[in-house]
Symmetry: C2
C-alpha cells in the first residue's frame, strides 16, 4: 500500500478564478486527463461511491483520486487500501477549492499519467458550488436520508452540476424520500441535469454510473 501523502494547499493568487479554471481545463485537455469534481453534503457517501466506481472502471481507465478535507486523511487511507492512487488535500479550514488549489493537487497526484482524476471536494452544499475548479464535469451526490428537498435549499449546487447521483437507494423503504419530487426540484434548478440512482452498499446502479463517467472521458479525449 502507498503511504498517505497530505498536502496543504494555499489560496489562489489569481484574481479571476473563472479564467484560471479555463486555463486548467485547457492543460487537462492537452494531457488527455478528465477531471471530475465530486460534491455533496458530509456523509452522503462520496468515498463509498468512488470506491465502487473505481472497481467497476478498473482495467478500462487509469484513475486517481484527490481527497479534500478540512482535517484527517481517513478517505485517502480507504482509497489506498483499495489500491486506488490517491492523495489528501487539506484546505486550511476553507470549505472549497478553487482552480489553483486544484492545480496544486493535480501536480502532486501526477495527473498526466491518468485518464480520470476525481476531486472529492469538501463535504458541503454551499461553498464548493461557488468556485469553478477547472473540472470537465461536476457531479453531486444526494443520499436518501438527507431528504428530497435539498435542491430547493441549495440552488447553486444543482445549477452547476451535470450529474445528480441519488445514493443509498437500499434504505428507501425506511425514509420518506419522494423520487418524483427530487427529480422535479433538481430539474427546476437545472433542466439538463442527468440523474442516476445507486447504492454503494449493494452495488445497484454502479455500472450505469461507471458508464456515464466512461462515456464522458471518451468524449473529452476525442
Amino acid at each position: 500500500m502507498e503511504d498517505i501523502k497530505i498536502i496543504q494547499v494555499k489560496q489562489s493568487v489569481f484574481q479571476n478564478n473563472d479564467e484560471d479554471a479555463n486555463r486548467l481545463r485547457e492543460a487537462l485537455k492537452k494531457d488527455k486527463t478528465f477531471l471530475l469534481n465530486l460534491m455533496s453534503s458530509p456523509g452522503s457517501g462520496k468515498t463509498s461511491v468512488l470506491l465502487a466506481v473505481a472497481k467497476e472502471l478498473s482495467g478500462r481507465l487509469k484513475m486517481a483520486v484527490m481527497e479534500a478535507d478540512i482535517d484527517s486523511a481517513v478517505d485517502t487511507a480507504a482509497m489506498l487500501e483499495a489500491g486506488v492512487h490517491s492523495i489528501q488535500i487539506h484546505t486550511g479550514g476553507m470549505c472549497h477549492l478553487d482552480a489553483d488549489m486544484t492545480r496544486q493537487g493535480l501536480k502532486e497526484v501526477g495527473y498526466a499519467d491518468y485518464d480520470l482524476v476525481v476531486l472529492e471536494n469538501v463535504g458541503n452544499l454551499v461553498c464548493p458550488a461557488e468556485f469553478d475548479t477547472g473540472a470537465v464535469k461536476n457531479m453531486t451526490i444526494l443520499s436518501v436520508p438527507e431528504g428530497h428537498d435539498k435542491p430547493l435549499k441549495y440552488p447553486l449546487m444543482y445549477q452547476t452540476s451535470h450529474l445528480l447521483v441519488i445514493n443509498k437507494t437500499d434504505v428507501l423503504p425506511y425514509f420518506d424520500f419522494d423520487t418524483q419530487k427530487v427529480e422535479e426540484y433538481a430539474k427546476m434548478r437545472n433542466p439538463n441535469i442527468d440523474i442516476l440512482y445507486v447504492s454503494a452498499k449493494t452495488g445497484e446502479g454502479i455500472p450505469a454510473l461507471a458508464d456515464w463517467i466512461y462515456k464522458n472521458v471518451q468524449a473529452w479525449n476525442n
Copy 2:
C-alpha cells in the same frame, strides 16, 4: 396559521464579530431570552428534531424559531403549520450567519416575548462554526446515516458545540455507525461536549433533549 415572513439579512458592518456577539448576548440576558444556535449537515433532521422538541416544551417555555437558508421557506412553513412562531431568514448565498445577521432576525421574530429562540442555521459543517452568532449555547446534530467519522473531518463544529445530538437512531440497524467511536472522536475535539441520542421519527430521546434545553434556559434566567 401565520403567513410566512421572509427576511433577507445583510452582512455585518462590524469588524469584530466576537465583540458584537458578546453585545448581543448581553441584550438577550437583559430580556431573559435564551438563544440556541442549531447547526448540522443538510438533511440531518434539524427541523424534525425542533418540531418534536417544540411539542415537548409546549406549556413549559415560550419558543420561537428562525429558519436560515440560502433559498426556499419549506422549514418555516413546517414550523408554522405546527403552530410554532417562526420566520425565514435568507442569507443571500452566504453559508453562515454572524451576530449582526442574527440580530436582524431576532428583531423580526420579536425575541423579547420568548424564553427560547432557536436559530436553525444553514445546513453546513464548516462556515457556521466559524462565526459566533451571539447564541448562549451551540447544538449540533449528527444523523446516523452520515457516519461516525464526522468529528474527524470537521473539527471546529465539534469544538464550538456544547451539545451533540445523534439523530435517526431508529435506522441504526441499517448503517455501520459506531456509537463508541463517535463519542471518542467528538470528545477528542471537545472533552466537555454533552451527547444525547434521539429519533425525531419515533420520539426516542426527545424528552431528555427537551430537559437539557429547559435546564439551560432556567440557568440563563437565574
